[in-house]
Symmetry: C2
Subunit: 236 residues, 2 copies
């Protein structure tokens, strides 16, 4: 409705925050939360060689619908390292529940890389708050979604930048979904007016961008909407 | 001389290490140290919108001369954030000693971003050791070159990846130059056979790639060679 509420370095009186925005259900909810908390949000998305680039179109729709100060898309090539079904076309995306403990959809150091760009953006935007949609409930078992990881990241970040070492303020990494089930996340997002029809969760969409309905991410999403008792407006 | 000592996933019996290689004097020395310690080195360089892209040519020369298992160059666009004289053509590179406490050549979260890609490469290469040329002596005052920062990074990294959370082993971030002056670094590198004529340090080279002779990096390099009492083979 109001995609640009303020200009970079402009007169927006709200404190700036960086929100990692994938275009999925979780990060859309996090953006709504940060907005509701009164932050002027700088959304940050990545084109990282993922199979599901349809995510980025969803991120743009979500950023526009919920309102952000700006939306930065950074190109990074995680594919050069290989090792993940999300970036390596030779590795198949498994069906939900069939994977090993940490599944092949895990991308090495992904959240660490994403948060590090978030840290850079926070410094240049004058933001002291970085939001990420990590959750340790109903998640895929990725190590970089756990609270102890994020606490260690925040400790490191506060030693890392010109802004944080000034001692003036400390940077906070917020994961407001950390202890919410997928259903709780959906309930919260609906209460904040998130249109989940704009979001995309599937790891392995068809050529038309439609969700596969069988990967971990589709499965978690479907279970969430079923538990809430509302249909998934994205038709997942 | 022997640019490819082993193949990825091949029969190289040496443990793998990741070495961040900028093409400068420090990282060339670090690569020589890691080689001498018996590691099979995976060199990692970045094309990050820096003014001094001649660095990358130097990184390729150094990797080839000292010998690496492979040399990965990752494209990342730090320029989208602005805020540094190294990536923003509208900010002048200052002469040495004229800058504020943390100079405008500081790139927001640069080492955090570089190490995070290093962490990803370490995981896919099966490496437990990441080397970086950071030093807290004769340096430009960047917060992400200090030992407390690197210790916090290592703590975070050990919670971040599938490999590190297995509990099998811990990942180490090595900064073997941390407590060395530039002159000590040069002495060590010379004793290991580093050809500093292949390296490039200047933040603001001319169109022909020649060092400016006046930036912080040129100045530190010149003082180092003067202290050692040998000419800079790069003619800096």
């Amino acid at each position: 409705m109001n995609p640009t509420r303020g200009a970079v370095g402009g007169t927006d009186p709200r404190p700036a925050a960086v929100v990692l925005l994938s275009g999925g259900l979780d990060s859309a909810t996090v953006l709504a939360i940060a907005n509701q908390q009164g932050f002027a949000c700088h959304a940050l998305s990545f084109r990282y060689g993922q199979r599901h680039e349809v995510e980025l179109a969803a991120a743009r729709r979500v950023a526009s619908a919920l309102g952000v100060v700006r939306h930065v898309v950074v190109d990074i090539d995680l594919g050069v390292f290989g090792g993940s079904a999300l970036t390596d076309p030779t590795i198949a995306v498994p069906a939900a529940g069939t994977a090993e403990e940490i599944p092949v959809t895990y991308v090495p150091a992904r959240n660490t890389i994403f948060l590090s760009f978030g840290l850079a953006l926070a410094e240049t935007a004058g933001a002291w708050d970085v939001f990420i949609g990590a959750s340790s409930v109903d998640y895929s078992g990725y190590p970089d979604c756990r609270p102890e990881y994020l606490a260690a990241y925040q400790a490191m970040a506060n030693l890392a930048t010109k802004a944080t070492v000034s001692g003036e303020r400390t940077l906070s990494v917020h994961a407001p979904l950390m202890h919410l089930s997928k259903a709780d996340t959906i309930r919260l997002g609906l209460s904040l007016g998130v249109d989940y029809g704009l979001t995309h969760s599937c790891y392995d969409p068809g050529p038309d961008g439609r969700p596969c309905g069988r990967c971990d991410s589709c499965s978690l999403r479907e279970r969430g909407f079923t538990e809430v008792g509302v249909p998934d407006p994205a038709g997942g």
